[in-house]
Assembly symmetry: C2
Homo-oligomer: 299 residues x 2
């Protein structure tokens, strides 16, 4: 069998974001961690880490991480059946990637009871809904929530529902920049707020107005910060209806195109060989999501 001491060192470096923290978690010296990584690379004949800050797994390293996570999930099933095999009675860590807007709205309510019942600790990684599969493909996470249906090799996907995005801004911003309505205004020169480089929601909205090319925008990689920026009148942006019910009712935000919304489907991707734990979480999400999300249309 493989030498799992070496693989555990690799996983700790990537998960903890550095050699020093990895050493702390594994109760080893930093030089012991470093030796294990070097030994792993010597056996493999290829580097497993890019020595950046934080260190990043190479393609070969990512394949190994993927394997480590699958083994961990299978070990959990084993401990359930043979509890005496391990003195480790602690909680299981599960890494999932999800979009910030889900984490800021419905996700916690859907998973909290399950985490408590199953004694699971979540390592939640933010990833834009259009690109969440990157981390799934690279083996960094065991499951992910994203807008893409097609699963990566070795995984399955399940449609949980849709989030509906509204184009909104503060009343003052709308008066200043769109006094005669949206169609009359030069949307290209009015600042928007965009979550990050992978967030295409605002771009799609602008294209739907028939405007080609670039527009001006602030970057704000925080769901709550995003709403704060819009309320403060710094720009317009696309926000899940779920997140701004109060702000709309109280008049802190108004829709730019009343009655219009952009649906974004949310697919749950999970490893086929993830064991009972992942299957249990999948079943829990399938049961709870319909009460929290709009129904989705499978393509």
């Amino acid at each position: 069998m493989l030498d799992y001491k070496l693989l555990a060192a690799l996983a700790a470096v990537v998960e903890q974001g550095g050699f020093e923290r990895a050493a702390g978690v594994l109760g080893l010296s930093q030089s012991a961690i470093s030796q294990r990584i070097k030994l792993l690379e010597a056996r493999l004949g290829a580097p497993v880490l890019v020595r950046a800050n934080p260190p990043q797994a190479t393609a070969a390293g990512q394949r190994l991480l993927n394997h480590v996570q699958q083994v961990r999930l299978l070990e959990r099933d084993l401990r359930h059946d043979l509890p005496q095999i391990s003195s480790d009675a602690g909680r299981t860590r599960l890494r999932v990637a999800l979009n910030a807007d889900s984490l800021a709205t419905w996700w916690a309510g859907a998973v909290a009871p399950w985490c408590e019942r199953e004694r699971v600790l979540l390592d939640q990684q933010l990833e834009d809904q259009d690109v969440g599969l990157r981390r799934m493909r690279s083996g960094e996470v065991a499951a992910c929530l994203c807008a893409v249906e097609q699963p990566v090799a070795g995984a399955r996907s399940l449609l949980l529902g849709e989030m509906h995005y509204l184009a909104v801004a503060s009343p003052g911003f709308i008066r200043r920049h769109f006094p005669d309505g949206l169609s009359q205004a030069d949307v290209r020169s009015v600042p928007a707020v965009v979550f990050g480089p992978d967030d295409q929601l605002q771009h799609r909205f602008v294209r739907q107005l028939g405007v080609d090319g670039e527009f001006e925008y602030h970057l704000c990689p925080s769901s709550e910060g995003f709403v704060r920026m819009l309320e403060a009148g710094i720009g317009w942006g696309m926000v899940p209806a779920l997140q701004i019910g109060d702000a709309l009712r109280a008049g802190r935000l108004q829709q730019l195109s009343p009655g219009w919304s952009q649906p974004v489907p949310l697919y749950w991707h999970y490893w086929r060989s993830g064991g009972q734990l992942l299957e249990g979480l999948t079943a829990e999400l399938a049961r709870r999501a319909p009460a929290l999300l709009a129904p989705g249309v499978s393509h």
Copy 2:
């Protein structure tokens, strides 16, 4: 003088997170971008980019980026004095690093009027308050908000005030896990929620209780998601009092140690040679922060 076409290509690759997007923004082909980077590296005799995904600046590349941003800010002052020098009448982009909890609470209200008045677009980068200076040192940002006072070389720092963090959880969670109060409970085995690997707030709270070593936690890198996780009863955690006034009043969250709070100072770091724009923003923050934050104690 330096060849700024090459430096602009480097800046675009790092800021846009890839060669393809950099090409789109500069209106060049991807191979033209790639050639410019190679030419820059040939002249420098050292690599400027680690070809990871996304590409990362090497130490030499970071020094160049730092220079590009300073030149951009100085150009803005020039355009103000000699508007005819450039047909580019657009807005200025300013990159700042700040902690997620500021972005989720008081920041937007403090900077929005200034951005509108000065025609500035913000590229906001999230960085934990204990490590925000990393991006300042690496030249990725022109200013940063963090808990550390000591400025990096070439920069100044200014104390804006303090955020006060409370240890909170849902009433149900407290009943289940701390039925006899905090001092009686085994804090090590009760799950916490931690923002990310650099977030030490929960660790400090646990140490103040006299507990040494590790404890169990979920990772949740989203300010709003963090509060949602606590409200859903998945763990306890440290949250700025600013952010949870409503949740405390409505009883969705309760303090673990009523009356206790942990102050975190917020220092504004900005380049000395950042020109009038950065000085204007600094003056605006100094004026507005006292109404939004608790007064800080300079050390």
